[in-house]
Amino acid sequence: MVEKTPFSARISRFAADTAAALGPEIQKADAACAVLLDHVGRLAGAAGRALLRVLRRAAITTWTLASAIAVRLSHLSWRAGRHVVRGLFGLDRGDMETVARGRIKLIMFAFCAVFIAIATQLSHLAIISDPGATRGRSSDAVASARPDIIDRNGDIIAIDVKSPSLFAEPRRLIDPDEALEGLLKVLPDLDVEESRKRLNSGKGFAWLKREITPAQMRAIHRLGIPGIGFLKENRRIYPDGPILSHVMGGVNVDNQGISGLEKYIDGRGLAELHLAGFATDRQQEPVELSMDMRVQHAVRDELIRAKNKFSALHAMAVVTEVNTGEIISMVSLPDFDPNVPGNPKDDAYLNRLTTGVYEMGSTFKALSFAMALDSGKIGLNSSFDARGAMHFGRFKISDYHAENRVLTVPEIFLVSSNVGTAKMVLSLGVEAHKAFLKKMGQLDRLRTELPESSEPIVPRRWGELNSATIAFGHGLSVAPLQAVMAVNSMVNGGYLITPTFIKRTPEEAQKVAVRVLKPETSDKMRYIMRLNAEKGTATKAEVPGYLVGGKTGTAEKVVNGRYAKNKLLTSFTAVFPMDKPRYLILVMLDEPKATSETYGFATSGWNAAPTAGKIVERIAPLLNIAPRQNLPNAEQLLRAPLKVADRH
């Protein structure tokens, strides 16, 4: 019988059993509880049943109604349809009036169709129309206005100037030959044949010469030729000429950016504005660059001197703020004047710092050291056997200044030993090497605001030999700016920050920064780079008072598939001040020649390093860094690591 006992009773019995042990008070409360539960159950049941009844009734009513409506509707629609068809086609032939009425309706339908067709075509014409373009042509300022570009201090880099353009309305010309004769008096450089063709074209509008001077405009105006007119156009002016050529890029005759940052500005939405015809609005916010024109001037000046002194083919330099990734200055020689239109295929138009890729040579060793020190397996006191040469099949790796002894890690850096660096990297393994370079952004294309960039040249099959050579900067070609980004992270506390040409604060930089190295690794790198300037290959870059540190790099260029001993690409990476790094300078010279001053040497320590030193000397005051006395020496850098708060 237990299974047939109601649930509530079972509970109460259970409760009673328990309550017997606990006391009569609890038992009483429990009984009340049981009664309540019973009631609740009964109420719920009743409510459920009522709900079901209502639902069923509602369903039946709906069904009945719906079917009735459906029957009525189908009947109605059949009748209506029949009525319409008979009315329209005059099948009720008995009554002429009904026929006529139906047929008038048919005519109305036909008219509606025709009017809808016309309206559709009109709307189509309106949608495909381009009134903005023609409006632009009829009003002034054909070429779109561009925002001003200013440097980090607010100095003007690029600005729009209104200048008149000459056009003809060939249809309104009375005598094209006479008109041409008059124009040639003012504009002797006008292409006679082309202009004659345009003047005789019979068109409504033809450009004759874009962007003439106000004086020429006045002179042509005085000629009083009917059918010749002027439109004011915006013309881009770069007051500093070639100083910032590659970074600026340029604009075409319609004032649209075609390269460099000008193209980047178009890509940010200016092109769309221009298409929509709103770019004539002068209320555009200026674009604030991270560049410093004063520094740019100084760097370019020093670089031109170095290029001439060492008869280098090309010379490049870049200055970055290591904590934000901002590019303060960027020079690639030869350069061009963006005010003067030229052939973009010209050698001068190549920005070698972003578009060129190079085997960076020993500068790349810094990456190998950062990797070794960051691995935790190799410390500053580890040492490697740098005696003799390394052999990989028929390839041989040897040192430029062979020391032929066991070297400690800082020593390898100071003497720039290829063998030591290669052994150090190989001790960590090829895969770890590859992964590290990937992490440091050296195997992928670096994309900045500049539209011009190049993919690094990475060996397709990467074995021990590749790792050994890449360890000292051969066998992997990267854009110089890419290497700069990696070195930045070694001295700024271990953050990889994509370089930028647009001004940004340290906070904004922190948002895009990726930690790639331990802070201790960064401290150790600062130590060995400073040590290098004190007593290594970088002593010629030392500038008293600025605590410069750096790494030299001398790469042999590949000529006809072999490394040429006498064609060098020298580079120097300088960082200052080493106790609290702010700026990094990369100087590169392509095929510098030895001079009497350098005692016949053409390696980096004799040309790129002193150039970097001179640049530091000139730009440090501009960048608000005063020379100091009582500077810490390299060892002290190790004992006083950077605090996070110090970094900025």
């Binding site: 086609f89 005059g90 032939r93 002429m96 009036e97 026929v99 006529a100 009425r101 047929r103 008038i104 309706k105 005519i107 109305m108 008219f111 509606c112 025709v114 009017f115 067709a117 016309i118 309206a119 075509q121 009109l122 709307s123 014409l125 309106a126 495909i128 129309s129 381009d130 009134p131 023609t134 409006r135 009829s138 409504g204």
Partner: protein, 399 residues
């Protein structure tokens, strides 16, 4: 404001005329003047007329008599209209024949006559009269099938068509043929005959295409734009594109200087360029309103003559407008057809005003008793005077 209790002729007119239709027609006239201001100075400049407002002044000069004609005609009774139309038809039929003999040849056609220094195009004036006469004949044919009204209608069409083709004026021929055929269709023509009639029309068109070179050229050009010079239609389409939704602004149009008939056949394109597609759509909507309202009036009309006449006049007006606009937006082959009330042209303006005046007169609210009288009237006896009962809501007439 006029009181409904007034029994003056003016008050009767005001309370019975279709005021919405009247407003729409006046709106078109005003738009016509504005567009003439926009389009015609460019044409005047090209034609070497010193006064840039030459065409504007003339258009305004013609608009005054046109408005008078329209309002005056709308006062007339259907019977009076019929009589006037017989006279107008007879006069202009003679003038139409005269053009073939004494009319000067302009662009290969003899369409104009100079009477007392005024150049008149008789074919414009004969159109509304022709429609009324055709409507009358078809109405008679439905009322009394024993009369040879249909045969007379054929004769009417044949005689006018013959003269028009002789001019030659294929646009007007096409227009009156279409209206005539539609009226025949309303008169209860069997579908099978309708198909036959369409066949005959298509055959006529085909013969015109085969034998008349400029018709052939125009159709070829429409079907294949590369086959010839499409300068005019290209300029028209460019005008619309230039204008966009809101237009270039009054006087800012540039394509109008290249449109040869900017003030007449292609005034719609000029409207598009200067005032935008929006105005074009408004004009289109006004035409659609006038036509559909007239036709719906016609379908409610119980008197066969009024029904046929209103339909015919609305069709004449609507077809002309629709063909003109369709040509402007290039969904029909080029055809010289003016846009009613909008295009420049004195004859066309006054003729259309006359037609619309008749439309207004016929669509006036008439009491059912009068309509019934008209329906059952004896063949030869017209009611001497149409008693006009007060409209609904007015005081009942004690008489």
């Amino acid at each position: 404001m006029m009181s409904r209790a007034d029994r003056t002729v003016l008050s009767e007119w005001w309370w019975t005329v279709d005021r919405a239709l009247l407003a729409a027609l006046c709106g078109l006239m005003v738009i016509g003047i504005i567009l003439c201001l926009a389009a015609s100075p460019a044409v005047a400049a090209r034609l070497g007329i010193a006064d840039p407002f030459h065409f504007v002044n003339r258009q305004v000069l013609f608009l005054v008599p046109a408005a008078v004609v329209m309002i005056a005609t709308s006062f007339l009774s259907p019977r009076a209209l019929r009589r006037i139309c017989v006279v107008v038809f007879a006069v202009f039929f003679v003038l139409l024949m005269a053009t073939l003999v004494v009319g000067p040849e302009v662009k290969g056609a003899r369409r104009w006559l100079t009477i007392a220094g005024v150049t008149v195009q008789p074919s414009e004036f004969i159109k509304p009269a022709f429609v009324i006469l055709a409507a009358w004949l078809f109405a008679e044919s439905t009322k009394r099938p024993e009369m040879p009204a249909t045969l007379l209608a054929f004769g009417l069409l044949g005689s006018v068509l013959g003269l028009l083709v002789k001019q030659p004026d294929f646009g007007q021929s096409l227009l009156i043929s279409l209206v005539w055929a539609s009226l025949f269709f309303l008169a209860g023509l069997r579908w099978i005959w309708m198909v036959g009639l369409v066949g005959v029309g298509a055959g006529g068109g085909f013969i015109a295409y085969m034998t008349v070179s400029h018709v052939q050229k125009r159709i070829n050009r429409f079907l294949n734009p590369d086959s010839g010079d499409t300068y005019q239609i290209d300029a028209a389409l460019n005008s619309f594109r230039n204008g966009g939704w809101f237009g270039q602004g009054p006087g800012e149009g540039t394509m109008k200087r290249m449109l040869p008939d900017g003030h007449t056949d292609f005034v719609f394109a000029v409207a598009g360029e200067e005032f935008g597609i929006i105005l074009c759509l408004i004009i289109l909507a006004l035409f659609a309103f006038i036509i559909l309202r007239s036709l719906s009036r016609a379908s409610k009309e119980s008197d066969p003559f009024s029904r046929f006449a209103i339909t015919g006049l609305a069709l004449l007006f609507g077809l002309q407008a629709a063909i003109n606009m369709a040509v402007n937006v290039h969904i029909a082959p080029a055809k010289g057809m003016t846009l009613p009330f909008i295009s420049y042209g004195g004859s066309s303006l006054i003729s259309i005003a006359f037609g619309m005046g008749m439309l207004l007169a016929l669509s006036r609210k008439r009491p059912g008793a009068a309509a019934l009288a008209a329906l059952t009237e004896k063949p030869s006896v017209e009611p001497v005077a149409r008693p006009v009962a007060p409209p609904a809501g007015a005081m009942p007439d004690p008489a």
